[in-house]
Every structure is written in structure tokens, then in C-alpha cells.
């Protein structure tokens, strides 16, 4: 599975003390590599910034297998997803040590190479990561007609505990219209050319050559540069401040109900002045809506769903369209979706919020399996319904299992911040249903895995409901029977 972490969560864990002890072991390996070239591409976006870094590695020792990828402090905090691959391969590499190891102003991932390298053996390592909350709207306020521009702030140089022969950083904006960018000074030690060049939508920093091992506070203080890129962004900046997803598995109804309570926030520039409906209507009429307005969102819901509902605190919202797709066989590779075009009650201007609930039912067979040999049911529940380009600040996924389920196992695609068990009581329950709640933070569009839950349901638990209902009705009839037949009057 794809390894990925929200770092801030990990910092809270007491495991940290342990981890820093192991640094001495790690640093022993730190002189076994040399980076012949590092190329980093930063793809600027709205809430999310995708970073791809390619390390061309040469081994200096024999049998070197553990390679350290280091991040600056700020970068480590905003990295919500991290994956390393060998160039040209699809399988992600295992990342040996978790949590992140802090040392000397940097944080490190240890990447296990598939096989040890001999002296002068080379390999190309591609590291992809997604940063959240690294951009902000500038100017902070925009009127209804204005364009939207964002600023990206980040560190320039790629830090590495190894010597680096040459490195280059490309910052790619979504459109060629870049308002300004930083040209850092004081990098003469590494370069003689122009530090920064802009061509079309891309700003290239470097190449910088002959960089010594840089994963240290001393180097960072002396050489690390801070860059700011100010660019136009033509899509709304969507942020989900809180997502509460509840997946309720019902064996009697053969149904998997998924309900999302979503707090949506437009993180673009706040609206300057006030909202004039007449401007909005004329903009929509001429199809020239300002980029920071969210008039609607498109969700890709699973195929085969039915009874979808969309409401908010004031009741049903009738302004949306849903195109359903029938269920597809489980083994099929093709991607098909039911498309929901969801319109909030009002267009979401910069800084506005909208809270709503979106849910649907789907056949349980589409996402469940049964292993007859072990008697285990396996149900998969997607962590989230991805909105492209949106970040989910806080997420809680609660999976409610059938009443009386035992031997519960939960296998999330990436580690949650916390995992909690509780009991949920709903219609016709007598003892309540076991439920598992997983919490995450800073989910991005890369966090689209499935949570697998396994459990057993004994036959007696299946029969719990009919038993309870028949006993209730039996008692009712008995009371009616007695009330009818027993004469309580004093006089005859």
C-alpha cells in the first residue's frame, strides 16, 4: 500500500523520543551515497502542491541499501502524502522507518532500495509528495469581478545528507501568467549562471552544483533560501474543513450506506465588499464567472448506488443532478462512476462556508466478500470521495458493523491518527453495533484508498433482530389479550 503520513499527527506521538535515539544508527549510513543529480518539480495548485523530486544516486560503499530522503522542517509539516519509486517502475518502495526522524533541523524518510547497490552502482529514485496549506490568496480580498491570485511559499534547495553534484528546481504554475517570483541572492557558491529563469509557466532555479551534505542546521541557516511565487489561479480553492464519513453495513438490508457530513470552505480570496446578485447573474449568463466562485461541485460516486440524498441543516437541497451508473462486476478494471453535480444553496464566494450532508445506499455485494473457510466477511470502504484539488483538513471515518459482529480487523490504506471503537445503536438494535472510527488529517486527492474491515457474524447475531421484534409483538399481543379478558371491575 501507498505509504503516506500526516506529519503533525506523528509529532504528537511519544514514539519520537525512541526515534531520535535511532538516529545515530541512521547517520552511520549517511556517507554511503552521492547524488549525481537532483531535479525537483513543484506543480503549483490551489490547496495542493504536487512535488516530484528525482534523485540520481550513486553508491559509494558496497551493499548500501538504505537511502535517506530529508525534508526541511516546514516542508515536512506540510507534506501530507509521500511516495518513493524507482524510475520507470510502478511499485512504490517500502519506507522503513516511521515516524519521521527529526534531526538537526530536518526530517528524514528512510527508503529501502529493492536490492543493495555495489560501489558506483547507480539508481534513479523518484519521490512524489503532496503539500497542503502552502499557498494563500494574495491579495487577501477580491471583489466579485476580480481575478484570483495565490502566493506559494517554500524552501528552495533540496536537502540531502549526501553530497550533491548538481540540482535543479523547477516551479511550474498552472498558467503562464506569473505575477512575480523570488530571485534568491547569495547562492554564488553553487552557481555562476542566472539563479532563476522563467520560460512560459515554468521558473527554473539552478542548476546548483557541488553542494555538500546539506541536512544540517548550519547549512540551512547559511544557504537555504526562501522563495515566494505569486501566480494567477483559475480554479476555485476548495477546502473541506471537516469531513465525517459514516459507513453503515447492514446484512439484513444487504446495504452499505455511506453518509458524509461535509464542511466546505472556499479558501480563495475573501469577498471584498458585498455579494451583488445582479453581478453574479450577469457573470453566469455570459459564462464569465470569476475563478474564485464555486457555483457547483462534481462528485464521482461509486457505480450501482441508489437513494442518494443531499440535505443541510435546513432540509433537502433540490438543486443538484445525479447520473447513475449500474453496478459493475467486482473484478472489472474499467472505471465508471455515478456523477453527482452538486450545487450548494448559494454560490460559494471567497471565504464563505457551506455545511451539508451527502449520502447514498449501495448494494453490499458490490463491496463485500465472504471467505467460507474462515467465516470472515471482508468489506471495503473508501476513505473519502475525492474532490479533485481539494484538501480535507480533518476527517473521521466511522464504520458501523452489523450487530453482534466479532473478530473485527481494520486495515486502513495508510495509518490513521487515531482509531477508536465504540457502540452505535440504531433501529431495532438490542445490544448495539460495534463501530470503528478512524481519524485522519490533511487528506488529498492521492489519499483515495480503501479501508478493509474483516469480521465474523455468528448465526445467533443474525437472528437477534427477528427475535427482538417477535418478542416485542408477542408481549404486545399478550397485553392486549389480558386487557381484553381480565375483568377488573368491582361490581358484577
Amino acid at each position: 500500500m501507498t505509504p503516506s503520513l500526516g506529519l503533525r499527527g506523528w509529532l504528537r506521538l511519544p514514539v519520537l523520543a525512541l526515534a531520535s535515539l535511532s538516529w545515530s544508527f541512521v547517520s552511520a549510513t549517511s556517507h554511503s551515497f552521492e547524488n549525481t543529480a537532483i531535479v525537483r518539480t513543484v506543480d503549483l495548485g490551489g490547496s495542493l502542491v504536487h512535488v516530484t523530486t528525482t534523485y540520481a544516486i550513486r553508491a559509494l560503499d558496497n551493499g548500501a541499501q538504505q537511502y535517506l530522503v530529508t525534508l526541511g522542517e516546514k516542508e515536512a509539516h506540510s507534506t501530507s502524502w509521500f511516495e518513493a519509486k524507482l524510475k520507470g517502475q510502478n511499485e512504490p518502495l517500502t519506507i522503513a522507518t516511521r515516524p519521521l526522524i527529526p534531526h538537526d533541523g530536518t526530517y528524514a524518510y528512510i527508503v529501502d532500495l529493492p536490492k543493495p547497490l555495489g560501489v558506483n552502482g547507480t539508481v534513479n529514485l523518484v519521490v512524489e509528495s503532496v503539500l497542503t496549506h502552502t499557498t494563500y490568496p494574495w491579495p487577501e480580498k477580491a471583489s466579485q469581478k476580480d481575478e484570483q491570485s495565490l502566493k506559494y511559499e517554500g524552501d528552495l534547495l533540496v536537502l540531502s545528507p549526501y553530497r550533491t553534484a548538481t540540482q535543479r528546481i523547477k516551479v511550474r504554475a498552472p498558467a503562464p501568467r506569473i505575477i512575480s517570483y523570488t530571485t534568491p541572492k547569495g547562492l554564488d557558491a553553487f552557481t555562476t549562471d542566472n539563479v532563476a529563469t522563467k520560460s512560459s509557466a515554468t521558473i527554473t532555479y539552478g542548476p546548483f552544483s557541488n553542494i555538500p551534505p546539506s541536512a544540517s542546521t548550519a547549512f540551512i541557516e547559511e544557504h537555504q533560501k526562501h522563495i515566494v511565487v505569486h501566480y494567477y489561479f483559475e480554479h476555485p480553492v476548495v477546502e473541506i474543513t471537516s469531513l465525517k464519513r459514516t459507513a453503515e453495513i447492514s446484512h439484513w438490508g444487504a446495504n452499505l450506506n455511506i453518509q458524509n457530513d461535509i464542511d466546505l470552505h472556499n479558501a480563495g480570496p475573501a469577498l471584498k465588499g458585498h455579494f451583488a446578485r445582479i453581478e453574479h447573474q450577469s457573470q453566469s449568463y455570459f459564462n464569465r464567472l470569476a475563478p474564485h466562485i464555486i457555483p457547483s461541485l462534481t462528485f464521482h460516486l461509486p457505480p450501482g448506488i441508489h437513494s442518494a440524498y443531499y440535505y443541510d441543516l435546513n432540509g433537502n437541497v433540490s438543486t443538484s443532478r445525479l447520473r447513475l451508473t449500474p453496478s459493475i462486476p467486482k473484478a472489472a478494471q474499467m472505471k465508471q462512476y455515478s456523477t453527482l453535480e452538486l450545487r450548494p444553496r448559494y454560490p460559494l464566494l471567497g471565504g464563505w462556508n457551506y455545511t451539508f450532508t451527502l449520502g447514498w445506499d449501495s448494494p453490499l455485494a458490490d463491496s463485500a466478500g465472504y471467505d467460507a473457510s474462515t467465516g470472515l466477511y471482508v468489506v471495503s470502504v473508501p476513505v473519502q470521495t475525492v474532490i479533485p484539488g481539494a484538501v480535507v483538513n480533518q476527517a473521521e471515518v466511522k464504520i458501523i458493523l452489523p450487530e453482534g459482529a466479532t473478530d473485527i480487523g481494520v486495515f486502513p490504506p495508510f495509518s490513521p491518527l487515531a482509531q477508536e471503537r465504540s457502540t452505535h445503536i440504531t433501529y431495532l438494535d438490542t445490544i448495539g453495533r460495534p463501530s470503528v472510527a478512524l481519524s485522519f488529517e490533511n487528506l488529498t486527492d492521492k489519499h483515495n484508498g480503501l479501508i478493509y474491515v474483516t469480521y465474523k457474524v455468528p448465526l445467533s447475531a443474525h437472528l437477534q433482530k427477528p427475535k427482538a421484534v417477535s418478542i416485542a409483538f408477542g408481549v404486545l399481543f399478550l397485553v392486549a389479550f389480558l386487557a381484553r379478558r381480565v375483568d377488573l371491575s368491582l361490581s358484577k
Binding site: F275, R277, N314, T319
Partner: protein
Amino acid sequence: MPKAYPLPTDLSPATVANTASLVRIVAFAFISGAAIASRLFAVINFESIIHEFDPWFNYRATRVLASKGFYEFWNWFDPTAWYPLGRVVGGTIYPGLMATSGVIYNLLHSLHLPVDIRNVCVLLAPGFSALTAWATYMFTKEMKDESAGLLAAAFIGIVPGYISRSVAGSYDNEAIAIFLLMFTFFLWIKAMKQGSALYGTLAAVFYFYMVAAWGGYAFITNMIPLHALALTLMGRFTNRLYVGYSSWYAIGTLASMQVPFVGFQPVRTSEHMGALGVFGLLQIVAFVELVRSHVSSKQFQQLLFSGVIAAGILGTLAIVGLTYNGSIAPWTGRFYSLWDTGYAKKYIPIIASVSEHQPTAWPSFFMDLHFLIFLFPAGVVLCFKQLRDEHVFVIIYALVASYFAGVMVRLMLTLTPIVCVSAAVALSSVFDTYIDPTEPEVSDGDKVDASKKDKSAATPASGASVVGLLTEMVTSGPSTTKKAKPTQRGIFGLDTRAAVIVNALGMLLFFVMHCTWVTSVAYSSPSVVLASHNQDGLQLIDDFREAYYWLRQNTPKDAVVMSWWDYGYQIAGMADRPTLVDNNTWNNTHIATVGKAMSSSEEVAYPILRKHDVDYVLVIFGGMIGYSGDDINKFLWMVRIAQGVWPDEIQEPRYFTPQGDYRVDDQASPTMKNSLMYKLSYYRFPELFGGGHAQDRVRGQMIAKPGPSLDYLDEAFTSENWIVRIYQVKKDDPLGRDLKSANAFDQGKKRKRTRPPVRRRSLA
């Protein structure tokens, strides 16, 4: 005795009784089903949503009750209503409705049925309508028999006059009150007929429930004494009446005083004095009866009789005296408005401004009651025919309720049950007469034979008794005693019977169709969501919720919203923001303040708004899509109410054109054009039409260009169809200028020079 059609003779009496009982239960199940189902149009056409205005407050209060518990609810002080005064909610409401929903909610949750509180509230009224049908059945059964009872239950189940107040989502006090009304009356009849203290106490308990649920309890408070008084005056005083009334009054009054909103009213206000007076009168009459049973002198009785009258007069005088003295509060204005329909318009415009307080138009009697209104007098006449004690009640109820229904549209609701009861009695008598297979004697010779047969049929031991029993099932009880003497009058053959019965069934069929149609067309709109029909079919106009939700999500939690009082409860319920005034119109001055702010110019209104911490002003404007219930159409009421408090500053005639028309186009009076309401409604409206004429679709008038401009407020939000417009009140200018000149400066306008520019002197 000849029969028009044969009846089976080989059935045992037990079978007949059991079958009849089963048929009744099945019929009753269907009636309940029809009553509930016909109220669900609103849920099916729209959604499970709370309707209109007052229900939103009840819903909000119920949520407090369900989430925080009863004691918290009891002591609830709501600082967000009537800002900045606040409202002691626990002490100023009838909590019966909320308590009922709270009990149902907690009961269902304790059974592990986690129903949403909103659904409990939405479906409460339909649920109780089934209970109302049952209570009406019990009541009518006392009047005539079971078959009339079933008819009455069916009528009350689907009659539009009652549905109008009890569709799903119409979560108002009336939803449960009509059930309580009918059931209390039923228990009273039982208590009075049997002289049972148990039934009297039960009646008192349900009376207490009614007092806790609806202000209309005064109807019971006066109906029962009126009945007792009428019976006494008719010389029908019995110990049964005495026991029934005394137990009801003593327990009911003490219980009703436990409701904080009622408090000491039952002993201090004139509305309740009738019940107290009758209670006293009955004590005297009972005492006299007691004395009479021991002393038997005719003169003495007469003396006592005059003594009774003297005591009655003295008692009345004492009450009048106490009223003048101030110990008993005199009649309230709302009471006077029941007798003089012009009273409210003159003295209490707030009451008159509510459409449901207007006198009823003739067509609405037909619309709400259909053919029952024609059968209603027939039923009352049939009551005169027997005139048992309970029939006197029906007659009094019919008279009183008919009057009140004519005075106020909303009191149609109290008339409806008795119309159903009387109409059922009448119709059931028709059916009794025409379904009864007995044919009259043709010749004198047969007469003797037939009477013999009849007598033999009357003895239960004989084999032919089944026929008699069956006849008894189909027809009413008392009529069999009359049949003991067969008469020449009657109905011959099947054809005459069929003609009448088919006709009656046809009327019933039309009644059902009419009820369905009226319910689906007129009474099932939530009024929070509007529906419009276009070529794509039904389209929902959801502007209210859009704007309220915007307020809820994008303004500070403590932002004060000013709007006309109609929308106060909705804003509190859906937008969760403090309001200046709401539908609980207890403070006329506060409402008049809002009226004044709306009807004055911006300069005058601004200090009022700032003094009340108003952040947002919300107006309803229908001119864009033709929604006629908007604020411009209600504007004259605002002016009138404001005029009542500030007659020097606000004068209604100034809002009319010199010709006396109420116009919004270029002929509108300057006062009208400068009023805040006009400006907020039409701000930027003409721009919507580009170069064309800006037509207000409600009033069909052209708005002058350029439209009004605003200096002290700023448009904050306008809903999709422009129905709800929200404006933000500007804060003081940071540079200390007045907002008008600051605005002019921002727009690049130069200040007007006070002196004309100096012209270059000519060289002449």
C-alpha cells in the same frame, strides 16, 4: 312484516356481534389510514419540512426540549428573540405540544428507534388526526350510535377545514388541540350522563392537557358551563350533572393553574368567570334540591326558587363589581374583536394584520366543509327531535361555533368537528331509514299479524331473533322501539331505497374528491418552499432557505437581523440569528419601532438601526418572480402599526399618491420612494432589465429609473429569485464623516458647491 330484501336468518347473535365489531375495527383502521395519508401530500410533493411561521418556533422549542431536557426547557430564557429584550420562553408558551413531541421522541429512542426530532414534529399532526377521528367517533356514538360515529370519524378524518391546520409539517398547537377538544367533550358527556366522578376527573385531566396545549381552551371553559347552565334552566338539573360538573371544574381549574402561562387567570379574568359562576349556581341548586327533598311545601319551593334567582343575580353583580374593582381583569381586546369585527382594525392593527383573523368569506365554508355544511342544520334539527341532555350540548356548540366561525377564519377549526358530528347524525339517519328492509303495512288485515310477528321477534329466545338483531345492527337502537308499532308510513321497494342511497353515496364520493383536491392544491404548501409550474414540470423556489442558510453560515453568530415580524420565527429557526421582532407579537412598541424604521427614510432609520445593534436588514421582495406575499404588499400594515405609536412622524396618507392610489412606479409619493422598505426592495432592480422597462411582476407597475440608491446600508445577499434580500447596516465611517457624504466621495461625486462659481467678468 314484509321485507324489501331478505336478510340471512341462520346466524347466531354472537357471530353478528363479532362481525359487526370486526367491521368497525377494520373501518376504523381505514379511516385512520385515510386521515394520515391525506395529510402527507406536503411530504410527498415537497419534503419532510416544518411549515409556515409559528411551527418553526414550536420546532425550535421542541429541539431544546429534546436535547436539553424538560427542566432546561421550562426555565428557557431566549436572549436572541426580541433583541435586546429577550423572551422568557418557558413562561410564555403553551408547552403541551412540545411536551407531547418530547415524550414521543424519548419513548421511541428508549425503544432504540432513533427517529429524528424533525420527523416526530412533522408527523405529529397527521398522527393526532387519527386520534381525533377516534375521539369524534366516541363523541358521536354518545349522540346517536356506532354507525353515525364511524361516519363522523370518516368526515373529520378528511374534511379540509381540519386538514388545513393539521397537514404533515404544520406543527402547531391546533394539531393536537382538536383531538383534546373532542375528547374532553366526550368525557364531559360521559360524566354528565353517568354522573361519574371518574369521567369528570378524566375530563379535567384532558382539559388540563388542552390548557397546556392551546389558547383556545377558553372554548371548553365556556362551553361546558354553558351546557350545564342550559340544562339547569331547562329544569333538567340532576345529581349526575352536579357530580360531573363539580368534579370537572374543581380539578380542571386547579390543574389548569399549574401552566405558568395561564397562572391565576382562571380566577382573575372575565373569560373564566362563567365557569366559576355556574359552579356556584350548581351548588345553590343542589342545596335547594336537598332541602326540597326534605321539606315538601309548594310555597316554600317557590320561595327557594326565587332565592336561587336572587343568589344568581347577586353572584353576577359581585363578579361585575369585582371587575370594576380591578380584582378581575376585564375582557381583553382579542375578546372584543370576536364581537365587533371592526374593533381590531381600529384599535389593534397587529391582530387585524393577520390574514387568519379576518372574517370568513362565504365560499370558504363550502371549500372547507363541502356538503357537510348543508347536512349540518339537518343534524342539529334531528338533535331537537330527541333532545336528550347530550343533544343540548350539540345544539349549543353548533350555535356558538357557527357564530365564531363567521367572525374569524381561523375559528372555522372549532366549527368543523361539530359540523362533522351533526352531518354524520343526519346522514346516518338517512341511511338508517333507507337501508332498513322493513316495509310498511299495506292493509289493515296484515297489521295485526305483523304486530304479532314483531312482538315475537322482540323476545330474544325465539329463533327469529337474529333478524331483529340484524335489523338492530343496521338501524339505530331507539328506532326499533318505535317499530314495535308498525305504521303506514315508510318506504316501498328497492328502487326508492336505491335512488336515495346511491344519491347519498354519490355525495360522499364527491366529498372525498373535493377533500383530496382541496388538500393537495390549497393546504399542502409549506410556504417555506414555493412551487412553480413551467414547461419542465414542477420547479421548486427555495429562496427562503437559501438566504436563511447563507445567514447561518456566513455571518457572525450574534449578528442581529431586523425583518418584519412575520419572518422572526423562521430566521430564529433556520438562520439561528437574533431577531428584533417575531411572530409572538407581545410587544407592540417594539414592532412599531421596526415598522417605523422600515417606513422612514434612511437618515431617520439609521439611528434606530444602530441603537438596536442591527447588523442585517432582511426584506422579502416578490417583484422579480411575482410572489405576492412580499413586504411591499404588507407595507401599509407596518405604516399603520408605526402610526399607532408615532402619529406625528408616520402618517399613512403620505404613502399614497395624491389620487389615493398605492403605487410603486414613478407616480409614487416621495415619502414612499424614500422609505427604507421601498429602497431595500427595489435597490438595483431596474438594472436587471438593462435598457428595458423594469416591471414589478406583483403590482404590474414600471419602476422608475434610476432605481433607489443606498447610503447607510449595503446589499449583502440576494437570493436566486430575489425573494429574500439582505442588507448590511454600515458601521460609522472611520473618518468620522456622515455616511452619505462618505458614500458620495467613494463614488467620485463632488460635493455640491454652496455658491455658484464666480464667472469671469465680461469686458463690457
